[in-house]
């Protein structure tokens, strides 16, 4: 039903100094692939393309840049379409780096192809922690968040406040399974118990049947291991079926600010969620968001789009220091060796397994009376320091990590 939108877009051309002779084909070509038309289009989509261009613009303000091109495509959340597009990008269109790629099943497919072709893959949208675990690759950096970090943030916080029995409502694909697995591990480690689970088709529409099963399980917490409109539909329908009034609580394990916007504060208030980035946290974030809003129909950026900015910025830095973009794994090695620093994510680092490390934040959605205006949605509950926010490097079974 959706079209593939493949368009060569901005060509950011700057004077090319002779020193940069090793850039393949004389141009750094960045391919942004995500959902341009479906349920994840608002949280990634054109916003991520905008963030990519913005990162190039900001980086080239201070550094002399050669020719940089941005292309984008719609993978429609289907691994086969994503794989075909990426192969064409690498083989025919000479794309050097693929960015974003929400939907874990697509990201895992792209992960393999990038390794095979020795290019670079900067993941912002996808969540499965397998990307830096069993499926880790010398060509991939997982930037913004992952299922382990979400589970660790939200799962821990919920268990600590007494939510010790869980029932999972899980999207039936790689991401949902990973999120459920990682959260179940956190719950059990903190002394809680998983009493049941149900896997729903992706994308789903009516969740009442699953919610009824969750209700009958008598679990204190219903963990929503899904995303996008699957999550908003689950929350909307849970409110309708009196789940919260019945004493059970919902834990939205992956909730983006665009989802909160879609639900409205009336329905979303009180939700606890984990994010890597929120637009209203620092002056730099607010400035970025103000520009983003003007270019993107009044929407605020999600952590995925901010992560795209940060990842592209660091990639350009590494390529410049290396003076080459030809060898993908060499670029990623350079990215790992260089500390990260940019306006939105501050200082950080990339670990041997490809995991980018930064603080994560626990937020609570405001009540309508607490919100001071449009998009003022979150109350900051806690900062999870970078060292604790992500899965310890030796526990992911990543072959790149020497034990």
């Amino acid at each position: 039903m959706r079209w593939k939108a493949l368009a060569v877009s901005a060509v950011t051309a700057f004077a090319a100094p002779a020193a940069m002779a090793q850039i393949s084909d004389g141009v750094i070509k960045i391919g942004v692939m995500n959902d341009q038309s479906g349920l994840y289009a608002d949280l990634s989509g054109q916003g991520s393309v905008w963030a990519t261009r913005r990162a190039i613009e900001d980086y080239c303000k201070t550094t002399k840049c050669e020719k940089i091109e941005v292309v984008f495509a719609d993978h429609q959340n289907k691994p086969d379409i994503g794989s075909t597009t990426v192969r064409q990008w690498f083989d025919v269109d000479k794309v050097d780096v693929v960015v974003d790629v929400p939907t874990s099943s697509v990201a895992l497919a792209v992960n393999n192809i990038t390794k095979e072709k020795n290019k670079v893959f900067l993941v912002s949208g996808a969540a499965a922690s397998d990307l830096t675990g069993k499926a880790c690759s010398p060509n991939t950096v997982h930037w913004t968040y992952d299922t382990w970090a979400l589970a660790n943030g939200t799962g821990n916080a919920v268990v600590k406040t007494g939510g010790d029995t869980w029932f999972f409502l899980t999207a039936d694909y790689a991401f949902g399974h990973a999120l459920e697995r990682d959260t179940a591990a956190v719950v059990e480690k903190s002394g809680g118990k998983v009493v049941g689970r149900v896997r729903h088709p992706f994308p789903g529409q009516d969740f009442s049947s699953f919610l009824l099963q969750a209700q009958q399980s008598k679990a204190k917490i219903i963990g929503l291991a899904n995303a996008g409109s699957d999550t908003t539909n689950s929350i909307k329908q849970a409110a309708e079926f009196g789940i919260v009034q019945g004493g059970q609580k919902l834990a939205g394990l992956l909730v983006f600010i665009t989802d909160v916007h879609a639900l409205g504060l009336q329905t979303a208030q009180g939700l606890i969620l984990t994010e890597a980035w929120y637009w209203n946290q620092t002056d730099a974030n607010r400035a970025f968001s103000a520009d983003f809003e003007k270019a993107n129909k009044g929407n605020k950026p999600t952590m995925v789009q901010a992560g795209v900015y940060s990842a592209v910025y660091h990639y350009l830095k590494a390529v410049h220091e290396l003076k080459s973009d030809a060898d993908g794994s060499a670029v990623v090695t350079k990215m790992k060796a260089t500390p990260t620093e940019d306006a939105l994510f501050g200082k950080g680092e990339i670990r041997a397994d490809g995991r980018k490390i930064h603080d994560m934040h626990l937020f609570e959605v405001k009540a309508p009376s607490e919100s001071k205006g449009a998009w003022d949605y979150y109350k900051h509950r806690a900062t999870i320091p970078a060292a604790e926010a992500f899965r310890p490097v030796d526990q992911g079974d990543c072959p790149l990590v020497k034990k």
């Binding site: 039903m1 079209w3 959902d35 038309s37 479906g38 349920l39 994840y40 289009a41 608002d42 949280l43 989509g45 039936d172 149900v198 896997r199 729903h200 088709p201 994308p203 789903g204 529409q205 009516d206 009442s208 049947s209 699953f210 009824l212 099963q213 209700q215 009958q216 996008g228 409109s229 908003t232 539909n233 909307k236 329908q237 409110a239 309708e240 079926f241 009196g242 019945g246 665009t258 989802d259 916007h261 879609a262 639900l263 409205g264 009336q266 329905t267 129909k297 929407n299």
Partner: protein, 297 residues
């Protein structure tokens, strides 16, 4: 007997009753949507692929009336089907009516293209993550085996009433008999001085209005987003095919029936709940190619 089933399947009777009821509620949406399709196909011989988009426009219509004009849900319930129905009439007059003398496929392609355009326009304007719409009937009642939200009860009620009224109008009234006759032999009916093209136009408008009504009903419980229709329309087409293309009662009964079957699948093997309807469709097509209630044309 019932105890045996319950024991055999390993779920409590409470859970089973709950799921049956939920299946019935979802079936109400299937019935209402497939009814519109059946009316349009039965009377106009048009396979209306815009139906999903018109359903989506119904939900957006409710949101727009509330957001821009402050008209609440109950007003939207009347106004939106009329407005979107009028849009349907415009569409029929301008485009669709020119294709009646051609093969079904042309109508299908036109409406499919229109659906893509409409979805694209709404996505461009409102994004894909959806818009909030509050439940006009919060709360509900404990039935012993489950909590029935008032709103879901209301959805079942209104869709049963609308379905039966439509069936009655088409199968049992004089107007309905004109319609059916016009489908069989338009030239002859015209010879009796009946304005057949106008009747066709109004029928299409009515079918579209039904889709819009389903959209308004869906707004408080499903995410109001541009792709809500395309997620549903394929299932609804399967319902129409199983019921028999163009059969009014067929689409109503199959709509509710398949809702229940899908609901039960969600308990026993949730992974298959998206597929079960298509499996049934394949089996029905093998055994009765005209559908359960259809007559071969």
């Amino acid at each position: 007997m019932f105890d045996f089933i319950v024991q055999f399947l390993g779920v409590s009777s409470q859970a089973l009753f709950g799921q049956l009821l939920i299946g019935l509620i979802n079936g109400a949406f299937y019935a209402l949507l497939s009814l519109g399709l059946a009316v349009i196909f039965g009377m106009l011989n048009v396979i209306n692929f815009t139906h999903g988009a018109q359903y989506m426009m119904g939900a957006f219509g409710a949101w727009m009336l509330l957001h821009y004009l402050g008209i609440p849900y109950w007003g939207a319930l009347i106004l939106v089907p009329v407005i979107i129905g009028a849009f349907g009439i415009l569409l029929e007059r301008l485009l669709l009516s020119r294709l009646y003398h051609l093969d079904h496929l042309y109508g299908l392609l036109l409406t499919f293209g229109l659906a893509l355009i409409l979805e694209g326009l709404f996505r461009k304007q409102y994004g894909s993550s959806g818009l909030p719409y509050n439940n006009p009937l919060p709360g509900g009642i404990h039935l012993g085996f489950m909590f029935l939200p008032w709103y879901r009860g209301w959805v079942v009620l209104i869709s049963i009433v609308v379905c039966l009224a439509t069936w009655f109008m088409i199968e049992k009234t004089k107007l309905g008999s004109y319609l059916r006759a016009a489908t069989e032999n338009p030239t002859l009916v015209r010879a009796f001085g009946i304005n057949v093209p106008r009747m066709m136009t109004l029928t299409y408008g009515f079918g579209v209005g039904l889709a819009a009504l389903a959209g308004v009903l869906a707004a408080p419980i499903y995410s109001v987003n541009p792709i809500m229709g395309s997620n549903l329309i394929i299932v609804v087409f399967a319902v129409v095919v199983i019921g028999g293309m163009g059969s009014i009662m067929g689409s109503i009964v199959t709509g509710f029936g398949l809702g229940v079957i899908e609901g039960l699948t969600k308990v026993f093997y949730p992974e298959a709940s998206n597929t079960v309807i298509f499996i049934i469709m394949a089996i029905v097509l093998l055994i009765r190619p005209a559908g359960l209630f259809g007559t071969p044309r």
